[in-house]
């Protein structure tokens, strides 16, 4: 199945989420609890893996699931580094580093966009969703 289908079924996998610790499982769990659309996101845990093993795992999951979008947590993280190496040979893939819950919520509700367009839109929503409340500096 292509991840760039413009109107995917709400439970079809569309992106991989990967990061430190239980970041991916935690975020996907939160998306599922809020929207019931967590199945669009594939959480990948990479603890104890070498950089090469992380790259191999992410590439294999992308191919198995037919997705071309990866969300990661940290620009300096091993998942981001591995994903950037994967993107080098996958021109239709997109990586969003620094993803947060608002990013993923926007992504799973995107309609009428390809997965990569949806990812870019979601990244802007995630960036804009960070707010500071309370004591003035």
């Amino acid at each position: 199945m292509s991840s760039d289908a413009a109107e995917p079924a709400s439970d079809a996998p569309r992106a991989i989420v990967a990061g430190h610790g239980d970041f991916a499982a935690g975020l996907v769990s939160a998306v599922e609890q809020i929207t019931g659309r967590g199945a669009q996101l594939i959480p990948v845990a990479v603890q104890r893996l070498s950089v090469q093993d992380i790259e191999d795992l992410l590439r294999r999951r992308m191919i198995e699931e037919g997705v071309r979008v990866i969300f990661t947590d940290l620009q300096a993280g091993s998942c981001t580094m591995a994903a950037r190496r994967i993107l080098r040979g996958m021109d239709d893939a997109v990586l969003i580093a620094g993803a947060n819950l608002p990013t993923l919520l926007d992504f799973v509700f995107s309609h009428g966009r390809t997965a990569s367009e949806a990812a870019r839109h979601a990244a802007e929503r995630g960036r804009a969703a960070i707010c500071v409340h309370g004591a003035a500096s």
Binding site: R48, S50, V51, A76, G77, S78, T80, M81, R85
Partner: protein, 161 residues
């Protein structure tokens, strides 16, 4: 200031290095010693883009890193030196004395045995760690600053598993 941490980590520059150690140690630069990275401008850019703009990254192969150490040791900022394997660090320790070596992450590969949650070693790598110690470096394993350092003897005994 100087190089405040000499780390062996097969993930090279990643979250634990940039954030976990980099922030509490107030790091201004990272020296990455790795032949494969030093041969590729693309790989160098990949790691350069992983650090905050105020942090410098310098790249060396194993052969030329020791000669560059005095420059980094006299830098007014604090720095971390990272190698991706034990043999590269051993080369540095034997060429230019290093007080302490941090084993930060050596992950699973065929032929390696798990010694810590984040350290897997082959018999040859265990010998190389002993050689580091014999060359005068204090060797311990510690993934993040607030973890307890595991001395070499305990590491090799798998005492913390």
């Amino acid at each position: 200031m100087t190089l405040v941490l000499y780390r062996i980590d097969d993930r090279l520059i990643h979250g634990q290095v940039v954030v976990g150690w980099g922030q509490p140690l107030d790091i201004g630069f990272i020296v990455l010693v790795d032949d494969e990275v030093a041969r590729s401008e693309w790989e160098e850019d990949l790691y350069r883009m992983a650090v905050p703009p105020e942090m410098d990254v310098f790249f060396h192969g194993a052969a030329d890193a020791a000669d560059a150490l005095p420059r980094y040791r006299s830098d007014r900022r604090r720095g971390i030196l990272v190698t991706g394997d034990i043999s590269t660090m051993r080369h540095l320790v034997e060429a230019a004395h290093v007080d302490a070596v941090n084993v930060g992450g050596i992950h699973h590969r065929a032929g390696r045995v798990q010694r810590l949650r984040y350290v897997f070693l082959s018999p040859q790598e265990e010998d190389e760690l002993r050689a580091l110690a014999a060359a005068g470096a204090r060797v311990s394993a510690q993934d993040v600053p607030n973890a307890r350092p595991v001395p070499l003897d305990d590491l090799l005994a798998g005492a913390e598993l």
